[in-house]
């Protein structure tokens, strides 16, 4: 697009990584430009260099990462020639930034209004009372209910979506020429994400701010982008109008990324009617809180009479937003958390009524795959030991258990010699494979996967989903698949249960649920899935 004069013009930018990094450049010969009022989405998987590009634009690259060559111009101003006071003038005034993590991006010990007012203070604008008045107005502009109350609140008293609105209020306080949004909705629920995306887009229209929007999610791209730039390992592989890149991608990498985005149209269903029921959950109930002297008033019904069953070889999806109780249900089914009431049967065994001692030998029948591939493996144990530990505690001979671990590693697509290595030597996707092998080592009947692919890049996500499907077919596993991602649910689940406030509001075969949702909340969730207009 040949616009008259771009707000941001990046030319031949190269950013060098520290000597010990896995590659010499974070970014190589990158050229980008954004016109006034335009939204450019920079898309890429983790490690593509997209966040480094954003940090270079505000001069806040981490220690050891440096711009090697090229230029970044903001409205003609050569940013890379600025000294520290010069940068301080540009940041906040000319470039506003919204970061990914709403939970950690605000100062926990400073009131919300003070943090917004600080933007004016840093640029020596307005008097203290005017700053506070503007802070209130800004909170109103980002559609936060009850601005007076929120202004006096501390960040921990707000939800993730509310905090992200505060971040946006702060970033737009001085009506900057450029807004950088680095994965601003990645940590949010879909309905909140939809609202925040709309807010950013409306404010852009109103103020004419150019937006540099960084994301890994093609759904979000389809929702918000005017133009798209695709990064792979620090190289720009494709750039163009959103419509074109999404529908007629030129570069093989873009094609691969788009193909990996799970479709909302479910694949044909497998016949399961004649399979026996493996997991039966009846009226499961769990109440949190209510204990302690002062906290009697704060109770959360995390699971309220939840009932479902899963047949051999079937995958039941448990979808819902954060706080809906879906993880609690998963943990209760495993009896990692003791339910307050209800029945759990695994293959006819009354799992929920077993006393702790007789429960232990039966624990192997139901196993879990966790969300975080980085935190869920003990960093000081070899992968072989991690996988073999379960069978050994169940009385298996250690040598045999280790041999089995090697077999399982091959089964999940890792070399057998991976058994002697430590978790940090593997990538996120590989670690998730280890997590799956660890669960399978117990020869379970039921697998509970709690957001098992949520932390992974789309291409890796697609591979892990394929692996889970293959293993299920081979081993006849019943799977409880907990996810917030409806696209993933559409692809892997035979049936889906939608949870809201501890209750299952709707449960149906996947194709039916997506085509004809009965419950209002299900419809709301489906409508919030980003990019449904431009992508399937």
């Amino acid at each position: 697009m040949a616009s008259p004069s771009p707000v941001l013009a990046i030319e031949n930018l190269s950013i060098g990584l520290p000597a010990l990094a896995d590659r010499p450049h974070a970014i190589r010969n990158l050229s980008l430009s954004i016109a006034p009022g335009e939204t450019l989405c920079v898309v890429g998987e983790s490690g593509s260099g997209k966040s480094m590009t954003a940090l270079a634009t505000i001069g806040l690259l981490p220690h050891g990462v440096e711009v090697l060559s090229g230029s970044i111009r903001l409205d003609g101003l050569d940013l890379l020639a600025l000294d520290e006071p010069g940068w301080c003038d540009v940041r906040g005034r000319d470039v506003g930034t919204v970061f990914q993590e709403p939970m950690t991006s605000l100062n926990p010990v400073m009131r919300v209004a003070d943090q917004i007012a600080e933007t004016f203070r840093a640029h020596r604008l307005l008097s203290p009372s005017e700053r506070n008045r503007r802070a209130l107005e800004l909170l109103d502009e980002v559609h936060l209910p009850n601005p007076e109350l929120i202004a006096r609140a501390y960040p921990h008293e707000l939800s993730g979506g509310q905090r992200q609105r505060v971040m946006i209020a702060m970033a737009l306080a001085l009506e900057p020429k450029l807004l950088i949004a680095d994965e601003p909705t990645t940590a949010l629920d879909v309905t909140t994400q939809a609202q925040v995306l709309k807010l950013i887009d409306n404010l852009r229209r109103k103020t004419g701010t150019a937006v540099l929007f960084i994301t890994h999610d093609f759904g979000v791209v389809a929702e918000i982008a005017d133009r798209v730039a695709v990064l792979q390992n620090g190289l720009l592989v494709e750039q163009g109008p959103a419509e074109e890149v999404l529908t007629r991608p030129q570069h093989a990498y873009t094609k691969r990324l788009l193909a990996a985005v799970p479709s909302l149209t479910p694949p044909p269903r497998k016949p399961l009617e004649n399979e026996p029921i493996t997991l039966m959950v009846d009226a499961l109930t769990k109440l949190y809180g209510g204990r302690g002297w002062f906290s009697k008033g704060r109770k959360v019904q995390a699971a309220d009479a939840v009932s479902f069953d899963i047949r051999r070889g079937e995958t039941l999806g448990l979808v819902g937003e954060s706080g809906s109780g879906k993880s609690t249900v998963g943990r209760c089914v495993l009896r990692l958390v003791e339910p307050d009431g209800g029945k759990i049967e695994i293959g006819g065994l009354p799992f929920s009524s077993l006393p702790q001692r007789s429960l232990r030998p039966h624990r192997r029948r139901i196993q879990m795959v966790f969300q975080d591939p980085f935190a869920s493996l003990n960093p000081r144990r070899t992968v072989g030991r991690i996988i073999a530990e379960g069978p050994i505690t169940q009385g298996e001979d250690p040598a045999k258990a280790l041999a089995l671990a090697e077999e399982l590693l091959e089964k999940v697509g890792l070399p057998a010699n991976a058994a002697e290595r430590y978790p940090h030597e593997f990538s996120g996707g590989q670690r998730q494979r280890i997590g799956i092998a660890r669960a399978l080592a117990m020869r379970p009947d039921v697998l509970v996967a709690d957001e098992a692919v949520s932390a992974l890049d789309v291409s890796v996500q697609a591979e892990i989903l394929k692996l889970i499907r293959e293993l299920q077919q081979e081993l006849g596993l019943a799977i409880l698949f907990i996810t917030h991602d409806l696209r993933v649910a559409a692809q892997i689940c035979d049936r889906v249960a939608v949870m809201q406030k501890g209750r299952i509001v709707e449960m149906a075969e996947t194709a039916q649920l997506f085509a004809d949702p009965k419950d209002a909340y299900t419809r709301q969730l489906l409508a919030a899935v980003p990019g449904t207009d431009r992508m399937t």
Partner: protein
């Protein structure tokens, strides 16, 4: 906030009751008859019996415990066996040395550690940082009584700036009294300051890497204001934990330092009472030391809530 204070006060009282009970019971089950120990092996049975009665040892344990506690609540700590005077008078005299000594040491330690730790973290691997590393290494490694001896050699014997030991009393005037306390306070403070500096440095480094610090910088806040308004208030939270743990060391450490500097403080009183098996004094002093630690912990908890709004609303 009020709820927090009340709930902490309740636990403070409960803890004090349990501690007093524990002290009483431990002294109760210690082998040996206090009266026999005091009078020696050659004592006659009727003198022993008389002393037991004088000490109230012939009454049941529960009665003695209640009498002890009721006495304390009325300000009566009993009468010392060796000094033949009320323990409350003894303790009050000694407190006038130990309390200022400990407070002075706390003041010196924090006044040294906080700025040094923050400065070291602000310019990581810089000259200040390296200096701080050496200081904290040395401070942790060298015991405070030895520092005390070195100080006496250097500042008192050689330079003659400070008295080598002893305490003139507060009646002698503020300055001479302070002069007598300064060297011991520094000796007491240095090892703790070394630890606190390290903790401050690492807490500050951690906060500097936090997302909200990046947010502040992205708003255009300059480095020093970011440090002042965002980094330090957050870094103080973990530092307070360590400081709270250290406060009891300041009182405990006073025992050693008071002996080195020959100061008539609570620590020395405890040491002497132990040697002379003055059970009345020992019991009271142990309770006073524990009481100080418990009250200090209470104050630290409240300080926490003042620093961190998240704790205020959780309580």
């Amino acid at each position: 906030m009020l709820r927090l204070v009340i709930s902490r006060l309740v636990s403070l009282v409960v803890t004090l009751i349990f501690v007093s009970l524990a002290i009483f019971l431990i002294l109760e089950v210690l082998p040996g008859d206090p009266a026999a120990i005091m009078l020696g092996t050659a004592a006659r049975e009727d003198t022993l019996a008389a002393l037991r009665q004088e000490l109230g040892l012939d009454r049941p344990a529960l009665v003695r415990y209640v009498a002890w506690i009721v006495g304390i609540l009325q300000g009566d700590l009993g009468t010392s066996i060796t000094y033949k005077m009320p323990v409350s008078t003894l303790v009050a005299e000694r407190m006038a040395v130990t309390l200022p000594l400990s407070l002075l040491a706390i003041l010196i330690s924090t006044a040294l550690a906080l700025p040094l730790g923050v400065a070291a973290a602000a310019r990581r691997d810089g000259a200040v940082d390296r200096g701080v590393l050496v200081f904290s290494q040395l401070g942790v490694a060298v015991p405070n009584f030895w520092i005390g001896l070195l100080f006496i050699l250097f500042f008192s014997t050689w330079l003659g700036w400070f008295p080598a030991g002893g305490f003139p009393g507060w009646d002698a005037g503020f300055w001479p009294a302070l002069q007598a306390l300064l060297l011991p306070a520094v000796a007491l403070a240095l090892p703790q300051a070394a630890v606190l500096t390290r903790v401050t440095r690492s807490a500050t480094l951690e906060v500097i890497g936090a997302d909200f610090v990046r947010t502040a910088r992205a708003k255009g806040v300059d480095k020093s204001a970011t440090l002042r308004r965002h980094v330090v208030p957050n870094a103080l939270i973990p530092v307070t934990t360590i400081l709270g743990l250290q406060l009891s060391f300041f009182f405990g450490g006073a025992i050693l330092v008071e002996n080195v500097f020959n100061l008539p403080g609570l620590g020395r009183l405890a040491y002497q009472a132990l040697n002379q098996r003055d059970l009345v004094v020992i019991k009271d002093i142990v309770l006073i030391f524990s009481g100080i630690v418990i009250v200090v912990n209470f104050l630290v908890d409240i300080g926490y809530a003042l620093l961190d709004p998240r704790l205020r609303s959780r309580a």
